[in-house]
Assembly symmetry: C2
Homo-oligomer: 485 residues x 2
Amino acid sequence: MTDLIQTVKNPLGALGSIYTDQYELTMAQGYFKSGKYEQQACFDYFFRKVPCDGGYVVFSGLDTLLEVLSDLCFDDEAIAYLAEQGFANDFLEHLRAFRFEAEVLAPREGELVFPFEPVVRVRGGLLEAQIVESALLNVLNFESLIATKASRLREAAGPDKKVIDFGLRRAQGFAGMQLSRAAVVGGCDSTSNVFAGYRDGIPITGTQAHSWIQSFDTELEAFRTYADAFPEKCILLVDTYDTLESGVPNAITVGKEMEERGERLDGIRLDSGDLAWLAKRARKMLDDAGLDYVKIAASNQLDEHVIKSLLDQDAPIDAFGVGTRLVTSYDCPALDGVYKLSQVDDKPRLKLSESRVKVNFPGHKQVLRLIDEQGMFYGDCVVVDGQTEPDHMHHPFDDDKHVAIEGFDNETLLRPVMNDGEVLVDRPSAHDAAAYAQERLDRLPGEHKRFQNPHVYKVGLSEQMRDLRDRTLQTARKTHLNEDR
Amino acid sequence: MTDLIQTVKNPLGALGSIYTDQYELTMAQGYFKSGKYEQQACFDYFFRKVPCDGGYVVFSGLDTLLEVLSDLCFDDEAIAYLAEQGFANDFLEHLRAFRFEAEVLAPREGELVFPFEPVVRVRGGLLEAQIVESALLNVLNFESLIATKASRLREAAGPDKKVIDFGLRRAQGFAGMQLSRAAVVGGCDSTSNVFAGYRDGIPITGTQAHSWIQSFDTELEAFRTYADAFPEKCILLVDTYDTLESGVPNAITVGKEMEERGERLDGIRLDSGDLAWLAKRARKMLDDAGLDYVKIAASNQLDEHVIKSLLDQDAPIDAFGVGTRLVTSYDCPALDGVYKLSQVDDKPRLKLSESRVKVNFPGHKQVLRLIDEQGMFYGDCVVVDGQTEPDHMHHPFDDDKHVAIEGFDNETLLRPVMNDGEVLVDRPSAHDAAAYAQERLDRLPGEHKRFQNPHVYKVGLSEQMRDLRDRTLQTARKTHLNEDR
């Protein structure tokens, strides 16, 4: 089935090249016409704010992105459409021969990344590096957002509870194709979404809806029929009529009948009402009936805060089915990642702004992760490419703040993942990426992981990097604002 | 290009059948095994809450849904995958022959729809009507959400300003394939998204990014080169270095040079800072230079509230580029649409709940839209299928409230759109659906359209419908709770 799985990885196929904002192509034509298109450009993907006021982002989406970039071409249909839109013939002939051959650097999927540091770096011809902007942002912003949200759910649920993606029905449309993998990368155990299971080889799960129960004359008949059909993994939805008056007693009846046949009822699911209160009552009823092995699953508008609250109340819930609030990242439905030009040929570039945090860092950069003696992450230092042992790290926006970082071990975060059209790294399974994310989270101090006012993880600039930024800034001000500072 | 456009309309293709929650297939196997699968079932799609605390929802997504339902089949790959997941062979053989042949009723795309009324009705075999649930919800919830958000932007901008979807980069992943059409249905003029232009035949638009400007040594050179390449539709982004010190003066220089060549600068775009203040200053600078025909476009975290505020301040902005907050419906990123079983064979069905608003309306239903003497919408009456002239309408949850509705004209909202696997209606273009939505909005009284505390549009039940609901409720309580009320 491998071939087809490769195909469903990139549902855009050859049309990925027009999964883009028109201005990318307009600029590309401008670069082509003005002869600038082969100038060597470097772009950085980064973000300025962590979603949900959290302390970290789980990097995800690289797998999908590599698929899209590998398939990138302008086929006859795309060329014909662009011709109708008024693009020039010579430019379109150039696109017909186009392949994406730029160098791409990125962390491993599941890596923890932080505001302002370069997360993905693309270096190649100005035209080719420019036109991938929209698709790159679309994929990385979304999958990293969902992986981050899932990670928060896992953080709330702890290592021993199940957390399951139930959200396809409320997902933002075709985002449903790709989100479940990101959810697993971030910490979910499985998904209800069959397509995602097929696409990404992740575990799928599911039992019955209210409609199953309603389609029978009685709840008991509905439960019995389900237990007959699925004796191996029978989870009964107990809230269709009344959870404690009808659902749980009927589930107990069926559970005891299963026991007599040498089977075991797997669980019950609560989907409405006060979940903490109901779970405690249901647990007691099940235990009193000798069904202490029957698990309790809960769903209904869950998020990390509700899960934390339920567990703080000692609600005996074994599995959480999370829908809308995971799959849309409901309280923060976008990651604000941007893709900024940082160098053209040998000239570092930046955009000026009244707001200092909106000035990007110019030049070719790398990120060194600083590791303390306990193996925990201390901070990330953005350095000029090639620099290995900075001794100081400067706050990016506050000139008064700097720290000595001699003696820390460090790791290089960005590694080449694609060049000359070839993917250079093994493509991790969702499971492998998830294991990596968890391993990294274990090394991130707890104060960066809490939900309320997490401590800001240090991201700074090496002296060389800071000097490059300041020089480029001065030059830009002189050039563009006739200032002489 | 028509064939290919049909293909990109449904990127799921034959795998649409597994774009579903596993429990749909688990239940389907249960229905199959227990012999219930051919019972005639009726499901209703409806929602309980309008997104963004608004007063109406613009129905969208039918076009995509009809495509997905028409293509629905279980191909060899899907069957093989489901076999690996443990589904039974006889059931999978049944799926191999499966085609979706149920009857689907729906309003026209662009129709205004309201909480609690059936929006889409699916009637057919229990198995076939069940397994389309996840895909139907996924598509309709999302596209209606975006159309509704776009409609609010249009409401804020008024009829004469341009509103453009700029959001692909922050869209929730592959949702970017389908969202722009919904945005146009709701009231956007065009999109930056080339794929969407291709897929849905909607206008695309775009100029240049900061990276274009940065790739040149000076802003003036960047503007000149762009004007040379695109003299017909040249819009210059003026905030890369300093909007009023650098961007606008350089744009004026280029605009005057274009005038000398007999060309016209189309516009400038503001993308940061205080847009009202900058637009006024820029307008004056342009006017003073004799460039009063040059338009001003604005972007940067716009939504309906910011647009309204800008226009309330008389900001001279001609076009709004809206990104993140449109494409994710940022302040309310999900429509809570559900799909509930309302009848099996001749038995009306409902789910009980402690919360009265969560009890669904049973039976086969239709919606009559009541029209007053001025042709304005007065309210919607949910009736038992076939009922045409109800004389009273009852509040669905408050027994004390009812109104006489004799003498109102009415329209039937739900019409057959698919049956026996055939699509029965003309598929509207985005433009046609948008025109229909606008025509309907013009007939919705203003109090339902305001952003703050909109007046709740009346949705009620005919006496016959109310009686059916109450009888079914009593029966359900008797059957499932041993109550005798």
